[in-house]
C-alpha cells in the first residue's frame, strides 16, 4: 500500500510542469495528501517606452493529480499585442515613407527617428497539455503537446521526457526531446528575401506562406549537494530549419560615401517608399548549443536562486545570461524577492546596419536589433502574500533595458552621427494568483 506524501506530489507537480515546459525536474520524495486541482494564474503587462510594443496577457496553468503519482497539466495563454516595433530601416536626416506590410497603404516617420511600424498588433492564443507518470520505481516519463495561433503564425508542438533517479534519489538524469512545426502566413505573402520594398498595391515580390521545423534535445543532471543546496546542469541542442526570416523587417540601401539612404520616387499616381529598402534575409537553418547551470540554496529562511546560461550558435551569436533571485521571508507568510538579470550577446554574422549601394548584395542580411550586439539588464522586485484560505498572491515589477551598438566598421559617413541602434526600455508588471481545489 503506497502512502502518498504531500511533498512528493508537490515535487511531482513541479516536475510535471517542468516536463510540460521542457525543463528538467527534481527528485521527488515520498508523499502525503494533496489537493486535487492546483491553479496558477497570472496577468502580465509588458510595456516598452516610446510607443513601442505593449503586451497584456492572461496565463493559466491547471494541474490535476491522479492516483499513483500521475499528473495532468493544462495551460492556456492569451496575449494581446499592440504598439510599434523597429523595422530595421536606418534613421535619416529627412522624413521617410514606407509601404505597410499589407501593401495597401504607407506610413511615415519624422526626421532622425528610428522607423517603427505601428501595424504590429495581434492577439495570440496558446494551449498546452502534458502528462507525467512514474515508470517503475526510479523512472518518470512525460509527454506533452502544444498549439498556438495568431493571425500570421500557427504552431504545433510535441515533447517527450524521461528521468531516472540514482543515489537514493539524490541524483536525477533527464532526457527530453521536443519538436515543433510552425506555419508562417505573412500578411499579403512573404516578400522575396532582399527584394525591394515596392509601391502600394504592388505585390509582385510576394510569395505565399512559409513553414519552419524545430527540434530540441535536452540532457540534464540534477544533484542534491546537501540539505540546503540543489544544483542542476543542462545541455541543450536546438535545430531550426525552414523559414527563419522576419517577413516584416527591412534594411536601408545607403550611399557608400555619405551613408544616407538612397532616395526613391513612387510610380506616378501611387504612394510608396520614399527611399530604397530591401527585405531582410536569414539562413534557412540554425543550430544552437546551450549550457545551463542553476543552484538553489537555502539559508536562515532565505532562498537564493542563481543561474548561468551560455549559448552559441552557427549564426555566430554567443550569449551569456546570469540570473539571481533572493527570497526573503517576512512575517505572516509574506515575502519579498528582488531579482537581477544580466544578458549579453554578440551579433549574428549576417547582422548589418544597412546595405551599401554598389556592392554585391550579401546572401543573408538583417538589421533586426534583436540579432545585434547588446547588453541587457533586468532589475525587479516581487512581493507575495498568502490569504486566510491559503491562496498565494504576488505582484512583481521589473525594469528591462537593452543597450547595444552597431559594430564600428559597419557605419558609413553620416551614420556615425546617428543613433543607429534602437535599444529598448520596458516595464514588466505581473500579478499572480495560485489556489487549490479538492
Amino acid at each position: 500500500m503506497k502512502k502518498r506524501n504531500k511533498k512528493f506530489v508537490a515535487k511531482s507537480l513541479a516536475t510535471a510542469t517542468c516536463a510540460l515546459l521542457g525543463t528538467t525536474g527534481t527528485s521527488p520524495v515520498h508523499a502525503q495528501e494533496e489537493p486535487l486541482w492546483k491553479f496558477d494564474t497570472a496577468l502580465l503587462y509588458y510595456s516598452e517606452s516610446d510607443d513601442r510594443v505593449q503586451d497584456l496577457s492572461l496565463n493559466i496553468l491547471a494541474q490535476r493529480s491522479f492516483v499513483d503519482d500521475r499528473l495532468l497539466t493544462l495551460g492556456l495563454t492569451v496575449d494581446s499585442l499592440t504598439g510599434a516595433t523597429p523595422i530595421g530601416a536606418a534613421p535619416m536626416n529627412v522624413a521617410q515613407t514606407f509601404t505597410r506590410p499589407s501593401g495597401n497603404s504607407v506610413f511615415s516617420v519624422p526626421v532622425n527617428t528610428a522607423p517603427l511600424d505601428d501595424t504590429f498588433w495581434d492577439t495570440r492564443y496558446a494551449v498546452s497539455a502534458g502528462w507525467q507518470q512514474p515508470l517503475g520505481r526510479l523512472f518518470r516519463g512525460s509527454a506533452g503537446i502544444s498549439f498556438s495561433t495568431e493571425f500570421d503564425y500557427t504552431h504545433f508542438g510535441a515533447n517527450l521526457g524521461l528521468e531516472r533517479d540514482f543515489n537514493k534519489r539524490n541524483t536525477t538524469v533527464s532526457f527530453g526531446i521536443a519538436i515543433a512545426k510552425d506555419d508562417i502566413d505573412p500578411i499579403s505573402g512573404s516578400p522575396t528575401p532582399l527584394s525591394s520594398m515596392l509601391d502600394v498595391g504592388d505585390l509582385s515580390n510576394r510569395r505565399s506562406s512559409e513553414s519552419k521545423d524545430v527540434v530540441d534535445l535536452l540532457l540534464g543532471i540534477t544533484q542534491v549537494v546537501n540539505q540546503n543546496l540543489l544544483v542542476q546542469l543542462n545541455y541543450s541542442y536546438s535545430d531550426s530549419s525552414g523559414y527563419l526570416t522576419d517577413p516584416y523587417r527591412i534594411l536601408s540601401l545607403v550611399d557608400p560615401i555619405s551613408g544616407d539612404t538612397l532616395a526613391r520616387t513612387p510610380a506616378p499616381g501611387t504612394e510608396g517608399p520614399s527611399h530604397e529598402f530591401r527585405y531582410e534575409s536569414r539562413p534557412d537553418s540554425r543550430a544552437k548549443n546551450s549550457l545551463f547551470a542553476q543552484a538553489k540554496y537555502y539559508r536562515d529562511g532565505k532562498i537564493l536562486d542563481f543561474s548561468y546560461r551560455y549559448m552559441t550558435d552557427d549564426w555566430d551569436i554567443d550569449s551569456h545570461t546570469i540570473d539571481a533571485k533572493l527570497k526573503f521571508p517576512l512575517a505572516n507568510d509574506r515575502y519579498l524577492e528582488p531579482h537581477l538579470r544580466y544578458y549579453t550577446q554578440t551579433e549574428a554574422n549576417f547582422y548589418r546596419a544597412s546595405l551599401t549601394a554598389g556592392e554585391p548584395l550579401p546572401v543573408y542580411a538583417s538589421a533586426d536589433y534583436r540579432l545585434g550586439n547588446f547588453d541587457a539588464i533586468t532589475a525587479g522586485i516581487k512581493y507575495g502574500w498568502r490569504t486566510d484560505s491559503g491562496h498565494d498572491l504576488s505582484v512583481r515589477l521589473e525594469y528591462y533595458r537593452q543597450d547595444g551598438e552597431v559594430p564600428g566598421d559597419q557605419l558609413i559617413g553620416n551614420q556615425l552621427q546617428r543613433d543607429m541602434y534602437p535599444g529598448l526600455d520596458a516595464i514588466i508588471f505581473n500579478f499572480s494568483y495560485r489556489f487549490s481545489l479538492r
Binding site: K7, K11, A14, C18, L21, G22, T23, T24, G25, V29, H30, D40, A42, L44, N59, L61, D122, A126, S148, E150, G157, N159, N167, R169, N170, T171, G176, A178, A180, D182, V214, D216, L218, Q223, V224, V225, N226, Q227, V231, N234, S238, K288, S290, L291, Q294, K296, I303, S307, R309, D313, I317, S319, T321, K327, Y343, A348, L371, A376, Y400, S432
Partner: protein
C-alpha cells in the same frame, strides 16, 4: 560529510559522475528543506514561462532551463 570542491566538480562534469555523486546528497529523512515548494528548481513555472517568452521575443537566445520557448511569430 563535507565534500571537496574538486569532487563536486567531478561529479558534475566527468562521465563517472554517478559514482562520484553517490558521496553527495542526503538521506530521505533529511529532505525537509528540499521538499519545500519554493526550493524546487522551477518553483514558479508560470512565471518562468512568462519570462522565457519575453526574453525569447527580445533576445536571440532561448531556453537552457528547458525547451526553447518559441511557438510564436515574435522572433
Amino acid at each position: 560529510m563535507r565534500m571537496s570542491l574538486t569532487r563536486f566538480m567531478l561529479c558534475l562534469f566527468v562521465p563517472g559522475f554517478l559514482s562520484a555523486c553517490s558521496t553527495l546528497g542526503v538521506e530521505p529523512w533529511e529532505r525537509d528543506v528540499l521538499a519545500k515548494d519554493e526550493m524546487q528548481l522551477v518553483s514558479n513555472p508560470l512565471e518562468a514561462n512568462i519570462d522565457d517568452h519575453i526574453y525569447f521575443s527580445k533576445e536571440a537566445s532561448s531556453g537552457g532551463r528547458g525547451f526553447g520557448g518559441g511557438g510564436c511569430g515574435c522572433n
